[in-house]
């Protein structure tokens, strides 16, 4: 497992491409080796890439409002396929409608994600916690 190799992509049938490119640019600038899978990425595609690359973390985006369905069961699938220690982040417009973010955070943390981010998050601060979280797992 490498401290700087991370996988990035937009999960499910989601085509929103802009945020994905921004996260890639910022994290690359922060010294990460980003393997960007782009939009419409399945859970297995994230995991395949993470295994080959020896990634320390997977960053999942969900923008179109179906995050609750697309993101469920991801942690279990990672464990099943040999990635028990991988850091999992999720962010974007995770749910539809006006729901309190703390409620959304709990929902996704229960699914096994280590950190959950709202669309307004500053990606540079994400880079910092990412470095710490990966180091803590080694």
């Amino acid at each position: 497992m490498s401290e700087t190799n991370v996988i990035l992509g937009v999960i499910g049938s989601d085509c929103h491409a802009v945020g994905n490119k921004i996260i890639d640019t910022v994290l690359t600038g922060e010294g990460f080796r980003v393997t960007n899978l782009g939009v419409m990425v399945s859970q297995d595609e994230f995991i395949d890439a993470a295994i080959e690359v020896g990634a320390g973390a997977i960053l999942v985006s969900s923008i179109y409002g179906h995050g609750e369905i697309d993101c469920a069961g991801f942690r279990g699938r990672c464990i099943e396929r040999g990635l028990e220690d991988i850091v999992l982040y999720v962010g974007g417009n995770l749910v539809i409608g006006k729901r309190d973010f703390s409620e959304v955070e709990t929902l996704f943390k229960d699914m096994g994600y280590d950190r959950v981010f709202p669309p307004t998050v500053d990606i540079k601060s994400v880079a910092q916690s990412l470095r710490q979280d990966i180091a803590a797992r080694q």
């Binding site: 085509c15 419409m40 395949d48 080959e52 690359v53 020896g54």
Partner: protein, 471 residues
């Protein structure tokens, strides 16, 4: 200048000589003799003396004659490919082996188990290709697999094309074996690099076919090296694509007794509304199917466990037992030629099944995904559905005047997972009636433009197919 070209096949050694007239080649002479397996040079020099007037060796030395030759000895070397994730490094490993002209005998992913190693020892491949991990990526699996291979009784060539960070450790582990270390076939996740592994396999292939059997005699006498036939044909496909106007997109079928090879030249361009998944596709690609062939592999064709076989048998009103009995007969007598209507019908059925399945495996898939915005198409592999031209080559297809491959491609419109099969649908079909492609492929190494042009000029146009006209 006279150009002589010879292809040493497993049953026939064929040759032809050509003369360059302006920027075109003219066929001078042709010859074929049964391959002399014990000493390949016997048939080789026999054919050479028939296609060249006078003393060929003297003319070679004098520079008036150019000679190129290829060999498909053993139907290509057997390669066992070991990757990490099936859809990732294993897939690129398969591509590297097939484009080198090899035959895939076994594939493994993740960690080799004791019984995997036992299977390898039993099959004794000629080459084991070991890959896994991007550069700086995962190293646990390749190290574990290298250790397992080191402890095995395997006595073959090994090629390591995995994570370069542990290349030295892998080399140390496999110190007791014949090992070639080459650059990673997936240095970076989105940038496959199959060529170094492919070149290593090809050069091992050459060393192996040259040893004994008389090829060394040929090399000494002629001063030139052979190339593996499928490799030459793949490069020829590329040359045609690049140099013959109107032929940048086509598919070539080469069906033999043991395997069915499919080559395609196609540049996959992104189209709107279609999202591509999986590894990027090479512009020129070869796949080889070891379980699809007209003689040695005929029985395997009857064992294809899918719905297409059942549907085909029903549509042609043939029982599985009848086809299996015929397959058993031709496998036992590989040089048999069908006699009578019934045998010809069964022979054509075998050919159609081979061609249909081989193309279905070669091409990509399209599936639709419903999103909140509507339908989105997701494509994996190459989309050959709009390919305008198909060429049939190899002994059987070369002679099959009335054969129409399109109908057999259409046996595979939708696969078992409900995805559309992206095989050519409306295309012009051409026959390599004199089976010159392997010979011209050799010629293309010296005079690419003329050889590519000649291959197309010698083709015999068959029917042009339009989907709706036949429906």
């Amino acid at each position: 200048m006279i150009y002589a070209t010879i292809d040493i096949g497993s049953t026939w050694t064929k040759g032809a000589s050509f003369r360059l007239v302006g920027d075109r080649v003219r066929l001078e002479r042709r010859a074929a003799r049964p391959t002399t397996v014990a000493n390949l040079s016997d048939a080789f020099f026999g054919v050479l003396s028939e296609i060249v007037a006078g003393d060929p060796l003297d003319q070679l030395r004098g520079g008036e004659l150019r000679l190129r030759y290829s060999s498909s000895a053993k139907g290509g070397l057997a390669v066992a490919a070991i990757g990490l994730v099936p859809d990732v490094t294993l897939e690129i490993g398969k591509l590297a082996a097939q484009s080198a002209g090899a035959r895939l005998s076994q594939v493994f992913s993740y960690r080799l188990t004791a019984s995997d190693v036992a299977q390898l020892e039993k099959r004794q491949p000629d080459i084991v290709l070991l890959a896994g991990g991007t550069d700086g990526g995962n190293s646990d699996y390749v190290l574990a697999n290298a250790a397992a291979l080191a402890a095995s009784r395997l006595d073959c060539d090994f090629v390591y094309a995995g994570n370069r960070e542990v290349a030295d450790e892998v080399a140390a582990l496999l110190a007791g074996k014949r090992l070639k270390v080459v650059p990673n076939l997936l240095p970076d996740f989105n940038e496959p690099n199959p060529d170094p592994a492919r070149d290593a396999i090809r050069s091992i292939f050459l060393d192996a076919i040259v040893k004994g059997k008389g090829l060394d005699v040929i090399m000494d006498a002629t001063g030139s090296e052979p190339v593996p036939t499928p490799f030459a044909v793949l490069e020829y496909t590329r040359t045609i694509r690049e140099l013959v106007p109107g032929w940048s997109e086509f598919l070539l079928l080469d069906m033999g007794g043991a395997t069915t090879d499919v080559y395609s030249a196609h540049l996959d361009t992104p189209s709107s509304g279609v999202i591509r998944r999986g590894l990027p596709e090479p512009t020129v690609k070869r796949t080889v199917e070891g379980d699809l062939g007209m003689r040695v592999s005929a029985q395997a064709v009857c064992e294809l466990g899918d719905t297409t076989l059942a549907a085909t048998l029903e549509a042609h009103n043939v029982s599985k037992a009848d086809l299996a009995a015929y397959a058993a007969r031709v496998t036992a007598h590989p040089d048999s030629i069908p006699t009578g209507t019934e045998e010809r019908r069964l022979d054509t059925l075998l050919a159609g099944l081979c061609v249909g399945h081989a193309v279905a495996r070669h091409v990509g898939r399209m599936t639709s995904v419903y999103t909140p915005e509507g339908e989105v198409l997701v494509q994996t592999g190459r989309d050959l559905s709009k390919l305008p031209k198909v060429v049939g080559s190899g002994g059987w297809l070369a002679k099959a005047e009335g054969f129409s491959p399109g109908a057999w491609f259409d046996g595979h419109l939708i696969d078992q997972r409900g995805r559309s099969v992206l095989a050519p649908r409306n295309f012009a079909y051409y026959r390599d009636a004199d089976y010159l492609f392997p010979l011209l492929a050799n010629l293309a190494r010296d005079i690419p433009a003329a050889a590519a042009r000649a291959g197309i000029d010698f083709l015999v146009a068959q029917e042009t197919r339009s989907e709706h006209a036949t429906a």
